[in-house]
């Protein structure tokens, strides 16, 4: 009797955990509606950093990035937005787009500008980073699963 009750309890708690995990993964969290504004960022690109390197905008904002190269030719391309531009020193380049995708996107240099060029990276944060939050919550659940699981 005790064994079947334990077994039932075990199944129940695993189902609960799985359900919680699915919730964390797929529950759509409403986006805080903010009025879209126009934002302009003047990014100075030098070997091998962008300044500022972290841009924060709200979803729906119309973002203009003015890229100013300060030493050699640099580029900027945003992962996930499929946008790219190149700037020579003395000639600013402009990129305008609507930040319709939410999350955290890295932008990288697209013109070889020296040794550390592949690591010339900045971050565009559009609204809330759902992947990070969901991942963090899942980490907690995964920890619990690890403690419970794999009994031998």
């Amino acid at each position: 009797m005790r064994e079947t009750r334990n077994k039932w309890f075990s199944i129940w708690r695993w189902a609960a955990l799985a359900g919680l995990a699915l919730l964390v993964l797929f529950l759509p969290i409403p986006v805080n509606a903010t009025t879209p504004v126009e934002r302009t960022f003047h990014i100075q690109a030098s070997q091998f950093a962008y300044s500022p390197a972290v841009l924060s905008v709200n979803p729906g904002d119309r973002v203009t990035i003015e890229l100013l190269a300060t030493d050699v030719v640099h580029g900027l391309s945003i992962d996930g937005y499929n946008l790219e531009t190149t700037a020579d020193p003395g000639q600013a380049a402009r990129l305008t787009f609507v930040a319709d995708r939410q999350g955290s996107f890295r932008f990288r240099c697209t013109v070889t500008c020296g040794n550390m060029h592949p690591f010339m990276i900045g971050k565009l944060q559009v609204g809330r980073n759902d992947l990070l939050w969901r991942g963090a919550l899942l980490a907690g659940l995964v920890l619990i699963a690890g403690i419970w699981g794999l009994r031998k």
């Binding site: 190269a69 300060t70 030493d71 050699v72 020579d88 020193p89 003395g90 013109v111 070889t112 500008c113």
Partner: protein
Amino acid sequence: MRKEWLARIIVIFLVVAAVAIPVGAWWLRSRGIVIHAQMAETGGWMPESLTVEVGQPLHLRLTSDDVMHSFAVGQSNQPPVDVIPGEMTDVTLTFDRPGKYTFYCTRWCSVNHWRMRGTIEVTGPETTAEAVKPPLYVTLGMDIDAEHHAEVIPNQMPSVARGAKLGVSIPTEYQSQEYYLSHSPVELWKALREESSLSRLSDQDLWDLVALTWQSNTTPQDLKQGQQLFGTNCAACHGEAGAGDGVFANDLEQPKTGDHTDMQTGEMTMRPTDFTDPEHLLAASPAHLQGKILRGGMGTGMPYWGPIFTEEQTWALVAYLWTFQFEMEDLP
């Protein structure tokens, strides 16, 4: 034992192949001309002097070892070719006249980018020696290094549109191109101020007329070309808005302590000129500006563009510089 020898042969063959490919390719490659581009501070063009006979094609393979460069030949129709890091670009040049040509980098690659130049010596039967025309400032006997200040400056930026609306025509001697080339705006203004026929006009009105006159000596195409030349060659130091605040301005202002980036020349450099300063620019004549552009600055770090720009290009650039002082309508 046979197996052992077979194994040894395989190893030797593979290792030799692994070494032979780069070495063989390097040997083959050295039969052509490969130019490596690096920032001026680390070597510039390597090699930087080439020789070719007149009429013979010169095949060049260009690659960059560090950052993006570009290759162009001064005072020629050869369009600039990007020299991309890690990639090879092929260029074939043919010269129909002997002489010394300068090739240079056209994409800013460091504060010393403009020093990245090389020469191509084109040998051949000497044609009739062309007399080299001295630049205008030399003919006029101008001292382009002298201090120049405009004693009078306008209250607001002179506008060509306002000048045109006045519906006044100035004496013809001031409308000629020769006058334009050899006189500064403030000199024209002072001359107009002396004119009795214009005495009813305000100081600002006269400045607008000066702007109008200046604009009449150029064309929209020239202004466009000038703008493009300025953007590519000048804006990095002088700033996109001409205010002497380009990305390299601070580097040039550094006092020489001996361990500066400009170690190549040991030359003094100065903050680039602010073209939006009326006191300075309005006291310079186009010939003066052309001279500065051609010859460069002595002890200022201003590059010399003589071997690079054609005369037409230089005048177009000078014409564009006036847009920092005058509101000239025809700019795109």
